[in-house]
Subunit: 109 residues, 2 copies
DNA sequence: TATTATATGTAGATTATCGATATATGTCAA
DNA sequence: TTGACATATATCGATAATCTACATATAATA
């Protein structure tokens, strides 16, 4: 990663769900989109992404279907109702965490 | 933790260094102070803190000395010059990471 | 005197991410 | 046409951060 990988820990699933909130995507597309949207801060590895997608699917947060595009069969992922609910919770958790970090970093003692 | 523990990953050392930037503290004091300053978002466990303090000391980011206070011998930690340098880098990394998350979450596509 | 808060510590388990590796197809330039 | 590179998906084992559980000891309080 461009940044210490441990910082990303736990927020990757949220970021993927956020991408899929906008539109269905296939795995490789998510890696590239995240990279662009974050100005190269998030350079997610395939070895991280695919197992994560499978586990999100198992948990019912995503569904998967195959579709041909540009002469290639790709696996598109779609966020479920449960996935949207989960995303909402993760966003709130992230806001809470972020506020807390800022308050420790900026505190005037 | 009050929040998903994985979110905290990687930022704990930064938070501890930040506390010690203000004044020397002993371990237990850091747990309580973090809890207060974060409004109970960061409830760091002893099993996380002490090994982390030892590793930061090994890396030369902290030094340790014993002192008696309130009739108790406590182990106070002090941030080193190297620790301040490290804190500065971690803060910058955190800002970069935070900006990137926000930009993915908020992006108007 | 018993319990709780303070205070420090270790061992083992869990989890997220990574690097390395594997496979297969499409594209483009030499 | 052939070799290299980008695209696309996937698994395995290693690494690292945190947790739970446990252990120990003292001080304060009921």
């Amino acid at each position: 990663m461009a940044i210490d990988r441990s910082l990303l820990s736990g927020s990757t699933a949220m970021l993927l769900l956020r991408l899929l909130e906008e539109r269905d995507m296939y795995g490789y597309e998510m890696i590239e989109t995240l990279e662009q949207k974050s100005q190269n801060v998030f350079t997610l590895k395939a070895g991280t992404l695919y197992p994560l997608l499978h586990s999100l699917e198992e948990k019912g947060l995503l569904t998967c279907y195959e579709r041909e595009a540009d002469g290639k069969v790709r696996k598109y992922y779609s966020i479920t109702r449960e996935g949207r609910k989960n995303l909402k919770a993760r966003r709130e958790e992230w806001q809470e965490y972020q506020r807390a970090v800022v308050s420790v970093l900026q505190t005037a003692w």
